[in-house]
């Protein structure tokens, strides 16, 4: 059963058949997948979803595939953690963490989008998948692509740190380090995507790939007992995740799974790369590209492809955008770890720090039920905590040395 009607230009509205294309031939606007919601409404219900395996494909009618899924069969349906110690620490009533730090198999929300991209790539008949990435996307394409049996080309800037390379190269893709700056890598990849018949997940497969992010929104609603929260805070790199979480809520409303959506969507960025937040604060819809300078590398997109649309989603929902400093990001990572036992990467620190700022400014109510989208695991960016963590107690291998330290610890804890 096919539920996808086709592709539609977000700018001029021109429609296209389902093909590996991403840009309108006329106005160069981005293409978006459109669905037959009347048909989906008849085929999908809360009860049907609940009976399915706990992975992101339980919402498959709302994802852009024609047949059965062939990648990411264990991805998605990550925990929605109701915080107690963090909520108490912040003095708020109802706070949840959507915990993609434990996404399968590569510990970030990119496992969702890549699962959808690779299933679609297989339907299109591609044998090679590719991406350009400095981290999470490279890991996800390398791993999912290995499992699905694709040839894989991963492009990275030659200056990338060894730890980031390792989490991709272990899956043995063709890892190509480009000796050039960020702009050079972007331009080369665009040229390669237009020349070779490969599934470049975030170029020619982008309209399909991006739809995978909706599953985070679907899961939040289902895990809250089929209710949309008052507020959701989403980190913004290209802005795509935020637009898709918003689209997910509206789609659930459209097919009758949700009666109404009054959720406010809040976007979070690092101040060192905040083109969308800056536009929001300046009251303009023009996203000015910037050169990123932040520790939150997974959000460091200076020219965000979906920035304009993320801004629209935030405004339409009645939410806001905010950005936070590198110090605030590190503090937030530590707060989340010591209160809830969740170790988030820098993007997670951005999201929690933004929530704290929005609370202080009264932009989010303390009585609101709020979900924070925590999109990646802290082990991926552990180096940012060098010299920033709590003390390690060094002792000699005898009891008196231990008890001396124990006394100090108890004094510190006020016991």
């Amino acid at each position: 059963m096919k539920y996808v009607k086709g592709l539609k230009c977000r700018e001029c509205g021109r429609e296209y058949p389902v093909e590996p294309i991403y840009v309108c031939e006329f106005c160069f606007g981005p293409l978006e997948v459109i669905y037959d919601y009347a048909k989906i409404k008849k085929a999908l219900s809360r009860r049907i979803i609940e009976k399915r395996p706990k992975n992101l494909w339980r919402y498959k009618e709302l994802l852009p595939i024609d047949g059965e899924p062939s990648a990411g069969l264990n991805s998605g349906f990550t925990p929605l953690v109701k915080t107690e110690r963090l909520a108490k620490y912040l003095g708020v009533k109802e706070l949840y963490i959507k915990d993609d730090t434990v996404a399968h198999p590569t510990l970030s929300f990119k496992d969702r989008v890549v699962a959808v991209a690779l299933t679609k790539a297989k339907e299109f008949g591609f044998d090679t998948v590719a991406c350009a990435s400095t981290g999470n996307l490279a890991h996800a394409v390398s791993a999912h692509g290995a499992k699905a049996g694709f040839n894989r080309f991963i492009f990275i800037p030659a200056t990338l740190e060894q730890s980031k390379i390792l989490a991709s190269i272990v899956y043995e893709p063709n890892l190509v380090a480009v000796d050039g700056n960020y702009d050079d890598v972007n331009r080369l990849c665009s040229e390669i995507a237009n020349k070779y018949r490969w599934a470049f997940v975030n170029i020619n497969i982008r309209p399909f790939y991006a739809e995978g992010s909706k599953t985070m929104g679907f899961e939040i609603v289902e895990q809250l007992g089929w209710e949309a929260p008052d507020s959701i805070v989403v980190p913004c790199a290209s802005g795509s995740l935020l637009t898709k979480v918003w689209k997910a809520l509206k789609e659930f409303q459209q097919i009758g799974i949700l009666k109404e959506v009054e959720t406010k969507i809040y976007g979070s960025q690092a101040t060192g790369c905040s083109p969308i937040s800056t536009a929001f604060k300046n009251g303009t819809d023009v996203i000015r590209p910037i050169k990123p300078n932040t520790i939150a590398k997974s959000l460091a997109i200076g020219n965000p492809a979906d920035g304009f649309y993320a801004l629209q989603a935030v405004k339409e929902s009645g939410g806001a955008m905010e950005d936070v400093s590198d110090e605030e990001i590190i503090d937030a990572i530590k707060i989340l770890a010591r209160t809830e036992g969740i170790f988030a990467e820098t993007a997670g620190g951005v999201t929690l720090a933004t929530y704290i700022k929005l609370l202080k400014d009264g932009k989010i109510d303390k009585r609101d039920s709020t979900v924070l989208c925590i999109t990646g695991n802290g082990l991926k960016t552990a180096e940012v905590l060098n010299g920033q963590t709590a003390e390690v107690y060094q002792i000699k291998p005898n009891l008196s040395s231990f008890e001396e330290i124990l006394k100090r610890i108890r004094q510190k804890e006020g016991k």
Partner: protein
């Protein structure tokens, strides 16, 4: 030998360049053919979505000259590296 290439870009003009024929001058000087698809101008900035076609070497020179004048030149795909 340089080959003919097409590049789809987004140009953002600062306020002080809005009234200048920046694109025409670049196209003429470097023999680059612009094909404009979308544009808008407000009181503070100008934005143009277009295709540039020309010899690779000329495209590079043309884009550099736009950047030197203060025009922001970006691929329409946005940043691809994620």
């Amino acid at each position: 030998m340089s080959e003919v290439k097409k590049l789809r870009v987004r140009l953002t003009f600062p306020q002080e360049l809005i009234k200048e024929p920046v694109l025409f001058r670049m196209a003429k000087k470097y023999d680059v053919m612009p094909n404009i698809r979308r544009a808008r101008v407000t009181d503070t900035f100008g934005e143009m979505i277009l295709e540039l076609e020309g010899l690779e070497e000329n495209l590079d020179k043309g884009i550099n000259s736009l950047r030197e004048q203060g025009v922001v030149v970006e691929l329409i795909e946005g940043d691809i590296i994620e």
